[in-house]
Amino acid sequence: MKASIFITCICDSMYPQVGEAMVRVLEKLGVTLDFPPEQTCCGQPALSSGYWEYARPVAETMLTAFKNSQYVVAPAGSCITAVKEYYPILFEKDPEKYRQAKELSAKLFEFSEFVVKILKKEDVGARFPHRVTYHSSCHARRFLNTDQYVRTLLTNVKEIDYVPLPHEEACCGFGGTFSVKLPEISEAMVDEKARNIMETKADVLVGVDLSCLMNIDGRLKKQKTNVRVMHVAELLDEGMRL
């Protein structure tokens, strides 16, 4: 099985170790990976702020980068949602780009979705003896409907002490530029999220979307808490090596 990595700009620059963990897990599961170097960013910051004209040339890098890929895997539900939900709107008046966007959408998968749905692996043989809670990211949950795959993977991790997060479905307050345009509302939202996480007494918060995790982690660190924030690929990677 061959697949291309869509790393996303946040993972590329801030969380390269998550990309590496994703690579290790997928390679162990027998996937041959490549990294199309033409990719940059999905364009979401400008896209969701209303600056579609600036988002378009950036989004086009995605269309060319993955033209020849059979499957594309990303560690971020939000960036995938940008492609699947918003590119058809962005390229509405350009039939060729619209077709390319649809083509990319069909082969683009969130990491946990790719593992369970495409690789048909529900148990990757990981062991993780820690208390873990899970933040269900808005885009993965409500647009991609890939929440189920994360749950499947986590359920099958041995020795995991999984504790549900109260209001797990509530947005963490990131929302891209929302977090800096209306920072006080964003703070109130991430504060409630952080309090709910602390209430679970979990050692680890896991998620599938690095932008949400970056936001939540930033709050937890500011509050000097010891909760470790991990992408599900990191958790599985670590668990497969234990």
Binding site: C9, D12, S13, P16, E38, L182, P183, I185, A188, G218
Partner: protein
């Protein structure tokens, strides 16, 4: 229409976020309402089919609104009622005030109606010397407090019982206890007399049924029934889109409205009024008037992109799941209609994408609203598109425009993207502490005031990948 608040959205939000009492009351209420709604949804088999059916009914009606409004009008007339069409708020206020004057009315009793909030009816009637009393308990509370609804279904959601007891005590001139029986008993005593002495009853309209010319009103307090049976004259006010074709369609939307609003299978009272009393009728008002308010709806109807926002059945479910509403409550929106649906329809109804165009940004586009909407309105898509409309109409911020232009220049090519990432990684160095930027610097303060900023790694994934290949 909505008076423009003096403060901008962010400042209104900051103010609201300081009101701990309000925030606590809102959180508690929306959690309860959402839990009840979820339970009701589980109890009704094929929930998704009910949503689809509701959407189809609303879509069909809105797409053929001219036909159904004509049918409704004809049937209201047949039932002895009179129909008035108000192109805007001012016209609606004048029609209603003139009717009240015509009937020599001095005292008006009202049941809950958002459209009369939209047209600011009460102040207009009071200005011509009439006494207007709200009979919905929550609306009565707000009237005493001099406030506006902060939720379309639970108008006084932001108030707790102690605050209500305080308001009632002022009216009573003695202490009214803050337990529910004491509060409702007090309001009932006051309002009973108001009902009996009212010359005109004014109602809203949950749904009008075109095939019969009926106006349907749902309440849990029975106040709409008293408003439409005790006064001689009844005036119902409806937003132009608040119509369904048949009673069969009404069954669907009336099954969805209370379930989505409060989790009830049915409200305690459902009143259906058909014009005025006809020979042989055992009850009914002497004169019935229906005022149909446009006030920007025709413009929305003509806009194919946003027309679907008229499919709303005003259940408030999107308010109850919205994480932004949860934190700031309804008043911070500054508009008559708050929450996600309010953020969509306010700029459209007001035809003002500059000032009211801020509202579509009061969302993280988390789509919680869309996931619950019983009419399946893609609210977050509409919020997303309204942002673009605001920017393309030239109301984006200069700084923001500049920033995105720079971003585009660097991010549209892998080479310049790599360069930008390198510059960021090197440039941030003096600020990085253990992998985070913590200092509250001017440009970063909006983030770092409340969160640490994750620093860029020394080497990007793509650099590591290239190295690995070699």
């Amino acid at each position: 229409m909505s008076e423009r608040p003096t403060l901008h959205l962010r400042d209104r939000a900051v103010k609201a976020l300081k009101d701990d009492q309000m925030r606590q009351a809102v959180r508690k209420a929306v959690d309860r309402l959402s839990a009840n709604k979820d339970k009701a949804a589980r109890e009704l088999p094929n929930w998704e089919e009910w949503r689809e059916q509701t959407k189809l009914i609303r879509q069909h009606t809105v797409n053929h609104l001219d036909y159904y409004l004509k049918l409704l009008t004809d049937n209201v007339k047949k039932a002895g009622g009179k129909v008035h069409f108000a192109p805007n708020a001012e016209a609606a206020r004048k029609i209603i005030a003139d009717l009240c004057k015509e009937y020599n009315a001095k005292k008006i009793i009202k049941s809950k109606s958002m459209v009369t909030e939209e047209i600011h009816l009460n102040t207009a009637l009071e200005a011509v010397g009439m006494e207007v009393v709200e009979s919905d308990l929550a609306e009565y509370i707000l009237q005493l407090a001099g406030e506006t609804p902060s939720h379309i279904i639970v108008p006084a959601i932001h108030k707790n019982r102690n605050q209500i007891a305080e308001l009632f005590s002022k009216v009573a001139g003695k202490k009214v206890e803050s337990d529910t029986p004491a509060l409702t008993a007090f309001a009932r005593k006051i309002l009973r007399n108001k009902f009996i002495s009212a010359d005109v009853g004014i109602t809203g309209c949950n749904f009008a049924v075109a095939e019969t010319g009926s106006i349907t009103l749902v309440t849990n307090e029975g106040n709409a029934r008293l408003t439409t049976t005790l006064p001689r004259i009844v005036i119902s006010v409806m937003g132009m889109e608040r119509v369904v074709p048949t009673f069969e369609d009404l069954e669907t939307v009336l099954s969805m409205l209370p379930r989505n609003a409060t989790g009830q299978k049915l409200t305690s009272y459902v009143s259906v009024i058909n014009g005025s009393r006809q020979p042989g009728d055992i009850d009914g008002c002497e004169k019935f008037h229906l005022v149909i308010v446009d006030n920007g709806r025709s413009r929305m109807l003509a806009d194919e992109e946003y027309r679907q926002a008229l499919n709303c059945i005003r259940c408030g479910a999107c308010f109850n799941v919205c994480p932004v509403y949860r934190q700031i409550g309804g008043h911070a929106y500054g508009s008559v209609y708050g929450g996600p649906i309010g953020s969509v329809i306010t700029p459209l109804l007001e035809d003002d994408i500059d000032f009211w165009g801020e509202l579509p940004y009061a969302s993280t586009l988390c789509a919680a609203c869309t996931s619950v909407c019983p009419a399946k309105i893609p609210l977050q898509d509409l919020l997303f598109k309204l942002r673009h409309r605001r920017v393309s109409d030239g109301y984006g911020q200069v700084v923001e425009k500049f920033a995105f232009n720079m971003w585009k220049r660097f991010f549209k090519l892998p080479s310049t993207y790599k360069f930008a990432m390198k510059v960021a990684s090197l440039g941030q160095k003096p600020l990085v502490n253990n992998g985070y930027i913590t200092a509250k610097l001017p440009l970063l303060a909006n983030w770092t005031n409340s969160r640490y900023m994750r620093a860029a790694a020394d080497t990007t994934f793509r650099e590591r990948w290239e190295k690995r290949k070699k």
